[in-house]
Amino acid sequence: MGSHFIRGVLVLCLALAVGFVPAASPVDAQGKGTVKIATQSPLSGGQAALGEGIKLGTQLAVEKFKGNLEKAGWKVELVPFDDQAKPDVGVANAKNIIADKDILGVIGHLNSGVAIPSSEVYKEVNLTMISPANTNPTVTDRGYANVYRVCGRDDVQGVVGSEFAHGSLKSKTAYVIHDKTTYGQGVAEFFKADAEKKGIKVIGFEGTEEKSNFDPIITPIKAKNPDLIYFGGIYEQAAPFFKAAREKGIKAKFLGPDGLDSSDLTKIAGKTVVGMHYTSVAGPVSVYPQAKQFADEYKKKFGKNPEPFAAQAYDATAILLKAIEASAKGGKAPTRDSVTAAVRDVKHTGITGTVEFDAKGDPKKALYFVLQVASDNPEKWGDNKEVKRLTIAAPAAPKK
């Protein structure tokens, strides 16, 4: 059998190689070249649900809006990268991205702690990054010309949370947990600072990297019996925490930032999180009237409902493509410098509202939401009730 088997494998390899040859060297007859758009988001690991949403939202937008560029003779391609929600992986990817001269813009990341070091790399070559999801203030406060975001900021989001805790939930005491990341600890500290100003007593402030065994953290919380627990972090950690806390008999209300905004929250924590509130910079697709068609197309193409930030990624991509078109006007070849400059002038009305950038790269006006988990069925995450909606301008850059 041996030699026949080997010969068979060889023939198969040859056949495959022949089959792949045309695909491996695309010939673009009258084309001027290729324009590539990269995404960076976690595609594997515990946060892959949100990260994949960013990639798919971008993919949908590229397919929808690439027409003008293709007419002008450019081939438009999407290159997805998996940053694994880890800063070192994000930076390594960023180095690969800047080495590919065809890449004219990056849509990403999900995690501020990954976006900040990665954008240092993009800055070396003035490569545009438009973030659909990074809310940490530092992302834009560094004043880099190539860094933009289409969402709100944590210094506002934390305050929206504490205002809601004080005004609507009437909490007197709060216990704050965070995940020790740039994003989670950042928003937790903004929440804490403003909550204390409003007279809420913060009786605990605890960081943890634990993912499964929360018992030793919960025991002191139970003894202190706070009115509210604020979790600054991402759903993969918050969900098992909330579940364990309720099961251990904690009666406090739960609150958290947009990191909790994923259907996986109810998939993991089930009915223990029904009725809890979270703030977000990305409303569910149902609050945007224009987004209905997007949600339908997304569902049809990918067989699942869009996760939060998919719509933001879609809009960010549309903005990037507009900027590339603008800098390709008159048959010129768009460059990284011309695209970065052009983004600032784009005024785009997308499915999540109208975006216009200020000098730092923040949207001039951003929407903030307070949402309530409606059902323990992950399929119905999109039905979460909007309790409050605020339009707040980005704060001015801090004095240096």
Binding site: S44, G45, G46, K180, G204, F205, E206, G207, T208, E209, E210, K211, S212, N213, D215, P216, I217, T219, P220, K222, A223, K224, E236, A239, P240, K243, A244, E247, K248, G249, D264, K267, I268, G270
Partner: protein
């Protein structure tokens, strides 16, 4: 300082620490048994543990979707799941030994160690691949069983859940069973003989390879059952869940004296308790300056101190006569 608070939570922390400690002890047995026989650290053991957890989750999830989870008596379901997790993990451990370790048995000590690390990475991503294809998700949630979530109030601040009791009882039974097996049966005598001197044991008519396979089977089965208990207790698993518990259990085995079965139990309990007390008390005692995030630093500092004064572990390493 709120003295009542510190005293009030003490029994609850003790209980949390015991549960965690038993979990570590069960996993540590796999490390310590293999070390006792082969003087080799099986770094793939944390993945054997995770495979057990996944087997349990898959069975419970399919029972749930068939609607049998509520109807069948919970104790039978739990026993069946524990057994399935133990059998599959045990067989997996035997296979790993046959494929990845046995061909390297005469190689220098570091070579099978590297092979073990490779197997560990392979299994992590194999589990991820299989689950992604099978379920399109690899973060699995153990379906809640109402009986297990029932809570019994001991005092107004202390309560214990059914699942915690299950973990403790199951762990005690397994530890007792293993102890009896190793010390009171013929097979146990053979295992101890192989650990003492492989060449002499084979001269006495013991099939050394079979005994080594058996050691992996028992260690793997304990790990798999521990995986199921972990899932039942903490609810959420993914292919990388095993890494930290595995590392801690390995530490527990060293702390108790590696190669020493009662040592693994003692080491596991000590480490679990240290961790629970550090996590719950540190921020209370330091006024929030050092929080729960420093629990591992505290626990491991104590470990280093213990090992400075007792380098062979609390109960001593099983030292082998070398010719």
């Amino acid at each position: 300082m709120d003295f009542d608070l510190l005293v009030g939570i003490f029994p609850q922390v003790l209980l949390d620490g015991l549960i965690l400690g038993f979990m570590y002890a069960l996993i540590a047995l796999g490390y310590t048994m293999v070390y006792g026989v082969l003087e080799f650290i099986n770094f793939a053991h944390s993945e054997i543990f995770v495979v057990g957890a996944f087997v349990g989750a898959e069975i419970l999830l399919s029972l749930q979707s068939a609607g049998w989870l509520e109807r069948a008596p919970w104790i039978l379901v739990l026993l069946a799941v524990l057994l399935a997790g133990a059998v599959i993990s045990g067989l997996l451990a035997v296979t790993i030994e046959r494929v990845a370790y046995r061909p390297l048995r005469t190689a220098p000590r570091l070579i099978p160690l590297i092979s073990a690390i490779g197997v560990s990475f392979f299994l992590q991503d194999a589990v991820r691949l299989v689950e992604s294809i099978w379920r399109n998700a690899f973060n699995l949630v153990y379906p809640p069983m109402d009986v297990l979530n029932e809570r019994y109030e001991l005092t107004s601040t202390i309560d214990v859940s059914m699942k915690s009791l299950v973990v403790i009882v199951a762990a005690l039974l397994m530890l007792w069973g293993l102890h009896a097996l190793v010390n009171r049966t013929k097979i146990g005598t053979a295992i101890r003989a192989v650990a003492e001197d492989q060449a002499a044991a084979s001269l006495m008519g013991i099939n050394v390879n079979r005994i080594i396979s058996l050691t992996f089977l028992i260690g793997g089965a304990m790990g798999g059952a521990a995986g199921v208990l972990f899932g039942v207790q903490y609810g959420l698993i993914n292919p990388y869940t095993g890494f930290i518990p595995g590392l801690k259990a390995f530490t527990a085995a060293v702390l108790g004296g590696i190669g020493n079965i009662p040592g693994a139990m003692v080491g596991g309990l000590v480490l679990g308790l240290l961790e629970a007390f550090a996590a719950s008390y540190m921020s209370l005692l330091t006024g929030g300056a050092f929080g729960a995030e420093y629990k591992d630093i505290f626990a491991f500092s104590v470990l280093i101190l213990i090992l400075i004064f007792r380098p062979k572990g609390l109960l001593g390493e099983v030292v082998r006569e070398r010719a």
